[in-house]
Amino acid sequence: MLHNLSIGELADRLGKRQISSAELTQHFLGRIERLNPALNAMITLTAKQALADAAAADARLAAGERGPLLGIPLIHKDIFCTDGVKTSCGSRMLDNFVAPYDATVVARLKAAGTVMLGKSNMDEFAMGSSNETSYYGPVKNPWDTAKVPGGSSGGSAAATAARLTPFATGTDTGGSIRQPAALTGVTGLKPTYGRVSRYGMVAFASSLDQAGMFTRSAADAAAVLQVMAGFDARDSTSVDVAVPDYSKTLSQPLKGMKIGLLREFFEGLEPRNAALLEDALNIYTGLGAETLQVSLPHLPLSVPTYYVVAPAECSSNLSRFDGVRYGYRCENPKDLMDLYKRSRGEGFGAEVKRRIMTGTYVLSAGYFDAYYLKAQKARRLITDDFRAAFDKVDLVIGPTTPTPAFDIGAKMDDPVLMYLNDIYTIGANLAGLPGVSVPCGFVDGLPMGLQLIGPHFAEAKLLNAAHQYQQATDWHTHAPRGYA
């Protein structure tokens, strides 16, 4: 079936004109129509435009042009601005917002000939770990629709897992790609901070946000990253570092690679999760890699650090949503203050408000030093820990999440419990490091992920290690029942 083919295989068939982009697009649009109602993974479908774009891709193919993503359908997380298409960010605040421009990520993928099927559901303004904070309702996990798919990029993860698309974009501020990838059994890559442009991505926490993707294999991720990565003059924090050929190094043998076991990640790990990781380590050893213990002593500070830094930035980033120029505006405002209060009060959901208030508090006079500055110091310590670890090893390995997908509604009343879901993923964001989650087995019939984290700009090495693992295992090929 077409939807089980890899991006490489699809590109090959498109190139040989065995299938057309139009057929492929129709196929995935049909699956979305049929399967999405049970999942709620999508906010907007762009079927008409998709078919037009597919026809354009077919014309390019007919003219002899070839490309790894030419004619390949995709889904964008609804955090990326898409010219002429609603960009809601999962919020009532932007329910009426049609972006007047394309994000750099969108523009690059568009230029490569991809076909956008639609835009995926997400936690409101990417704030959440379960996709339950969306104004458009929770996304269901295709492995068990009573479970969450993780968040905040839950729609993109669920859609990729359910084979509604060959791949989907996501963003990762504290684990929002890797955690849902783990909970839905797909491959999720968060590149180095600065590797992919943030221009046109609705900002949550600017110093942590990074765009990445959900695919069904590391090899597919390499093909997508190839297009997304690169310096963008419109994003001052994007870094002008050459983009290597990610696909070329996928098959390098791992002999001699040093993989560090993060002691802090393995301590107190649930036994079945630990067993899956044990299996993975054996595979790596079998592939010739050397495993050794490393420690990041300040890693336990990462959750509290993150929940100061991210809300602080978000409280400022979300100030622009004031009901004045675009987005939600309350009915009949009495005066300016009323306009602000009700537009924001009615436009934002509870979790967003909680973070705005937390962030406003930690930046306030009298609290700034105790919270914001202290968090910045902790962030530096965590970054230094990673740097020291990478003096000894090429990559570090650990679990992506503490548990498999949990029940919808289970943690919504307890924000701290919810925040602890990100305990293994946040460190990479604080340090700006690339991380990938790949499926590594099942607990209670639900997928689990292992996480590899590398030094800055070591995506090629990460993808190499992930690909080699996927050559030796088949966890990434499992499809949820009913979606194969």
């Binding site: 990326f80 609705v202 001052s236 409280s315 400022s316 622009r320 004031d322 006079a365």
Partner: protein, 483 residues
């Protein structure tokens, strides 16, 4: 009234003369229809990001070098958070803890000719906000974001000024400087150059500062002076009446000539400054600083010193003539045409009749109706005795209104000075003959009547007789001698 000392510090906002905004590519030209110079970045659309305009940094560094300040090798943009409709992002990007320029100073000249050094605490880059429009809109306010994102250099002085006059002298000096540096057009009507004044009073001899009030948004030198004078009187009266000055922000109402409370310290915003994560710290290396230094023009104080030294001008004249680059250039062009020996004559004319005409008709010196070459043409005729200084004023006015050369006007109006001794003598003879009584009185010792005869001769000739020559000949004639 006991003896109070006034303490003033100024925060000057100079709009930098960049082509585009500080964080977006929109143009900065003044006066465009509302919201036609605001792009998605200025409108703070979701997802957009700021990109720093390098020209703005160059200009800030230029200013820093001109006031002998430290240019920070690393400065940081911070967000100043507050809600206002003309502030689209809900925060202003500014510099807070690490400004690009710190610890400079500037000399000002006081009325008595003494020189005073005013400390400059810092100068930092920031973006301007937009404007709220209330006129012509029923039951609504409009927002014009053309100005949003225009680069500003905020120049913060030490509380070194001790009178409204000193504050004005300092502000004028900064105004001169930024225009010299070509980093700001200095246009105060358009808001390109404005200031906030921090004003307090304390009993003379007391070291501790009094509580200050900040007067916002003063956009003329006159308003600065009047607002400070009003505020000082208000504070003194308040304290002497047993009251206390409260720390607050006040607005100056130029129509009523008074300051009014805008908001107290308690009502002040907590701006929640923090480093802007969308912008990298600004790293400035020695090469960048040296490249900017190479673009520095001769500065006002340097020019004034040179004028005084090379042309023998008084410190006051040298200061006036170097107050703007254009005025200095005009003056130098005139001196170049006349020769340094006539610099004083050139200075008197540029500062006198020329400046008077420019002020009267509100014309910039660049657009003067009498250009340096034309003025040289006039001053040469004074120097070579073709006309007297007095007649020259008449010629100048004709040049100003008719746009002709001095020679054409002298010729056309027959204003050439009479220097032919025979011609002068015959006029003198006729006058003497017509005034025998005055002659007799003069000869009997009424020396003052000499002026009477001078006046009579000039009246008869339309003032065209060379004054020195006339004096000489008249003395002879009145004394009974022959030339």
């Amino acid at each position: 009234m006991s003896d109070w000392e006034v303490v003033i510090g100024l925060e000057i906002h100079a709009q930098l003369a960049t082509q585009s905004k500080i964080f977006s590519g929109s143009p900065t030209a003044y006066g465009a229809p509302p919201n036609t110079q605001a792009d998605l970045v200025d409108l703070a659309y979701p997802g957009v990001l700021p990109v720093l305009n390098a020209r703005a940094v160059q200009m800030a560094v230029k200013f820093g070098l001109a006031v002998d300040a430290t240019v920070a090798r690393r400065s940081v943009f911070a967000r100043k958070n507050y809600f206002y409709p003309d502030l689209p992002k809900g925060y202003q990007i500014s510099q807070y803890e690490l400004p690009v320029v710190a610890r400079g100073s500037l000399n000002i000249m006081l009325d008595d000719g003494a020189v005073k050094t005013v400390g400059i605490t810092r100068a930092h880059l920031e973006e301007d906000a937009g404007k709220s429009l209330h006129e012509g809109l029923a039951h609504a306010s409009g927002i014009d974001l053309n100005r949003a994102g225009t680069p500003l250099l905020e120049i913060v002085s030490e509380p070194d000024m001790r009178s409204a006059k000193e504050a004005v002298a300092y502000m004028k000096k900064i105004h001169t400087l930024v225009r010299y540096l070509e980093i700001c057009d200095g246009n105060m009507q358009e808001g390109s150059f404005r200031c906030d004044a921090n004003v307090s009073v304390r009993p003379r001899g007391q070291e501790k500062f009094g509580t200050r009030a900040e007067i916002k948004n003063l956009n003329s030198f006159r308003f600065v002076e009047k607002a400070i004078q009003y505020e000082v009187a208000r504070q003194v009266e308040l304290i002497e009446g047993g009251g206390k000055v409260v720390q607050e922000t006040r607005l100056y109402d130029s129509d009523k000539d008074e300051t009014r409370s805008m908001r107290s310290k308690e009502e002040a915003n907590d701006y929640r400054y923090f480093p802007d994560p969308d912008l990298l710290p600004v790293e400035i290396d020695a090469a960048f600083i040296e490249a900017v230094r190479a673009t520095l023009p001769e500065l006002p104080d340097q020019k004034a010193a040179r004028f005084a030294r090379d042309f023998g001008l008084s410190a006051y004249d040298a200061g006036v003539l170097s107050a703007s680059r254009e005025l200095g250039a005009y003056f130098e062009a005139v001196v170049a045409g006349l020769g340094a020996g006539q610099a004083k004559l050139a200075a008197n004319w540029v500062m006198g009749d020329l400046s008077g005409a420019l002020n009267r008709d509100s014309v910039d010196i660049e657009h003067s109706r009498v250009n340096p070459l034309q003025l040289i043409g006039l001053l040469k005729r004074i120097a070579d005795d073709t006309i007297s200084g007095k007649i020259a004023k008449e010629v100048f006015e004709a040049m100003w209104s008719e746009g002709k050369s001095a020679d054409d006007i002298i010729e056309a109006k027959g204003l050439r000075q009479i220097t032919d001794a025979g011609a002068i003598e015959s006029v003198i003879d006729a006058i003497i003959a017509a005034n025998p009584k005055q002659l007799a009185d003069y000869r009997s010792g009424k020396d003052k009547l000499f002026g009477f005869f001078v006046g009579q001769v000039q009246k008869a000739t339309g003032g065209k007789v060379n004054p020195a020559q006339l004096n000489e000949l008249l003395k002879l004639k009145l004394g009974g001698g022959n030339a």
